[in-house]
Symmetry: C2
Subunit: 248 residues, 2 copies
């Protein structure tokens, strides 16, 4: 409480205020001294869709908090085949600790604004504040869970199930007012059809076909290619291929 007050009054970027909203914010854990010191080194950036964040000279040696927008993490094979291996939403933390060269590309999927810190500042904070590292561990564990969830989708689901699962995941991440038992949802798709297919391991034609099928069946509506309304969340869930059953 006091911490957050202090942040607000000292003009530290808004990201730190929102960190507690999702469990993988990393700043909320800091005491006021560390926060203030970290804040002095921070800088804000606005990034256009399609711009690379990692591999770019300006940001390669920094860590950032994502303030708004969506960032896609991709890996490619040498012949051009590409796979999206993760999506980051505000207020996720961007950057890979303990590693100089990343094998992952990060690219703005939508317009993105972020608040970045020099590598040295973050690593110093990490050393001095165990609680900060603890938060980072939690975010990493969360991302690992997400990645493994998608491995099931990539390896075992059919094309219709993949697209339904994707819509559900986006709905839950974008439409933050969404309750677990909500009957409908409404959001802007942060990705093009081609991006979605890179995420799902299919082609843009297949994504397009499955979306029209969902439209025809009255499960969703789409306006302007991007604005999606899910009329029946339950019917969308049914098409995801059966949520993980741990016991046989």
């Amino acid at each position: 409480m006091t911490v957050r007050q202090d942040i607000r009054s000292s003009g530290i970027p808004a990201l730190c205020l929102s960190c507690e909203a999702r469990h993988h914010g990393v700043c909320g854990a800091l005491d006021p001294d560390h926060l203030a010191r970290l804040a002095k080194t921070s800088s804000r950036h606005k990034i256009d869709p399609g711009v690379e964040l990692i591999g770019d000279a300006e940001t390669v040696d920094s860590y950032s908090n994502l303030l708004s927008g969506v960032v896609k993490l991709t890996k490619s094979l040498s012949d051009g085949r590409q796979q999206i291996v993760g999506l980051q939403f505000a207020p996720d933390f961007l950057g890979r600790p303990f590693r100089v060269k990343s094998t992952i590309n990060a690219e703005a999927a939508t317009a993105v604004s972020l608040c970045s810190f020099p590598r040295a500042a973050i690593e110093r904070t990490m050393k001095e504040s165990p609680e900060f590292e603890h938060r980072l561990l939690k975010q990493t564990l969360y991302e690992l869970d997400e990645a493994r969830e998608w491995m099931v989708t990539l390896g075992r689901k059919t094309a219709p199930e993949k697209v339904a699962s994707f819509l559900l995941m986006i709905a839950r991440n974008i439409d933050s007012s969404l309750e677990p038992g909500a009957r409908s949802a409404c959001f802007e798709l942060p990705l093009t059809r081609a991006d979605i297919s890179d995420f799902l391991g299919t082609t843009n034609e297949t994504v397009s076909r499955q979306l029209t099928r969902l439209r025809m069946d009255g499960v969703i509506r789409i306006e302007n290619n991007r604005h999606v309304t899910v009329d029946s969340m339950s019917r969308l869930e049914q098409r995801c291929g059966g949520r993980g059953a741990t016991a046989p």
Copy 2:
């Protein structure tokens, strides 16, 4: 050094000695006091292939270090489709911090021996020793990298490429004497054909066909279904579909 001496003389299980072998061992980071206290709570187990480790009453409330053997982490859909989302080799650390119910199944793929600690002891150590948590963060980051690497394989590689990639990964994990530029390798497959297909998102028939194709082409030899000799690592690598190129 002294630490490792102390461990040996105090009869602490061997796992702690091997932790420094791979970067994701977690015990090497502890000071002697913590180590000794942790060691008192430890117990050793031998597990047969096919036995579930998580979901089982005896081990659900504990963390373990894997001493030998291979453990597969799986997720299933309600209709029975299954995906292996991770493999753990000695001396990996098993267990999911900060979470009571796991959505993941862990099962011994081969005969396994492990050394387990009660949940409370590990969590206490984690609180008191930031260095311990730091190691855990590193292991988690490493597993995240592995998971993302496999997402590319699952989403974008063909069946022949998948099988070649799998063999290469196993070779690198099992045959620990393997140098990056080695010309050949030799190891026991820790998984059945069905397991391999669950890992690669295909069927056992496809795995079998691709293995015979590799045999016919003189890239590998197989004895007793499990013992694999890679005669030409370079030709195997060529069939993996082109290692990740970050820049286009």
